[in-house]
Subunit: 195 residues, 2 copies
DNA sequence: GTCTATAACCTGATAGAC
DNA sequence: GTCTATCAGGTTATAGAC
């Protein structure tokens, strides 16, 4: 077990605080404290709150959306496998990072300008491969709808957790089971509603 | 056209600023300015930023989630009509209030404690009516999955708009058409994947 | 009720010692 | 590199005149 460098300790703390509180709600003091270092040191290494934030948001954005294009664009993988891989990977990722989607999507909505550089170099999803596969499987759905359906059904239940729990629809103890059950069902659902 | 009272002008401005920036990112100065009044007056009427926020968040929460239970609980309405009503109402509401879902869901995640009182009195969704209707329609899906599927497919596309646009999947000009097309398709999709 | 002025506090960032 | 101390600026909230 290796000790983290000071720089890495700060980034780790920044990940934790920023994803929980958002940019505006996070305080550099809290990050410093969680990193076990002094506030001055944070500025020594990263110069400003915004610089540190950009490092974290870039990382998290990539973590959340970086997998879509590689998985969907591979021509040699059958459509059914792609769906299953995407749903499985997201469910695993989000179980371990519950605040991730709401963090990214909220910052995208509130501080969209911070993403300008980031999105400029973002992999654009290539549609022709998927289009062909959908057609070959006798499916009439458009590619954007196909992708939207997968990630809506998979990601939204994580975002809506506090709501569903408080509405009495699912208990907090059963929520993981609920998500696992959905993970196993979504691929079939997607095939059904793509025809 | 009636003039708004000062109190109402402040609330209107608070709605606008809070939903765009979130609690932490919003400044009372901006709210006062947008209301066309002085900062002191805001505190004269509402005492604190948090008090004003509670009024707005309660209103918005109700606007976003208040419709679910009344629509779904009415025993005399056929299942297909319920789905269509829910999807239509949400699409209309969110077209006019794009930041609404991310605002509520983010505050729920970041400042959950503010909702404590609010959720205490929240209508719990009664499941027996829906359960019966699902069964009578030969459907095997559980009620929580049924509700989750409807609101995932309907609400998430609004939240994911900046993402889909920047990924080059849909242009900003075509997004409204995309949402309208989905609104018309989702009821069929829901029926399909509930069997 | 509404304003100006200011208090009280908080937060990001820096100076300077070690 | 790391710390303590502090600055500079911003933000919420209030005092007090009108």
């Amino acid at each position: 077990m290796e000790e983290l460098s000071t720089e890495q300790k700060i980034i780790a703390a920044a990940r934790s605080v920023f994803t929980k509180k958002g940019f505006a709600g996070a305080r550099t003091r809290d990050i410093a404290e969680e990193a076990g270092i002094n506030l001055a040191l944070l500025n020594y290494y990263f110069g400003s709150k915004e610089n540190l934030f950009k490092i974290v948001i870039k990382e998290k954005f990539e973590q959340l959306f970086g997998m879509i294009s590689p998985i969907l664009s591979d021509e040699s993988v059958p459509l059914g496998t792609k769906i299953k891989t995407l749903v499985d990977n997201y469910t695993k990722l989000l179980k371990e990072n519950e605040e991730l989607p709401i963090f990214i999507l909220n910052e995208l909505s509130v501080n969209g300008h911070i993403f300008d550089e980031l999105l400029q170099y973002a992999r654009q999803i290539s549609q022709p491969v998927l289009e062909k596969q959908l057609k070959n499987n006798g499916m009439t759905l458009s590619v954007p709808n196909f992708i939207m359906n997968i990630i809506s059904l998979t990601i939204f239940p994580f975002i809506a957790k506090p709501l569903f729990v408080s509405a009495g629809l699912i208990t907090i103890e059963n929520y993981t089971d609920f998500l696992n059950e959905r993970r196993d069902n979504i691929p079939d659902w997607i095939m059904k509603l793509s025809k």
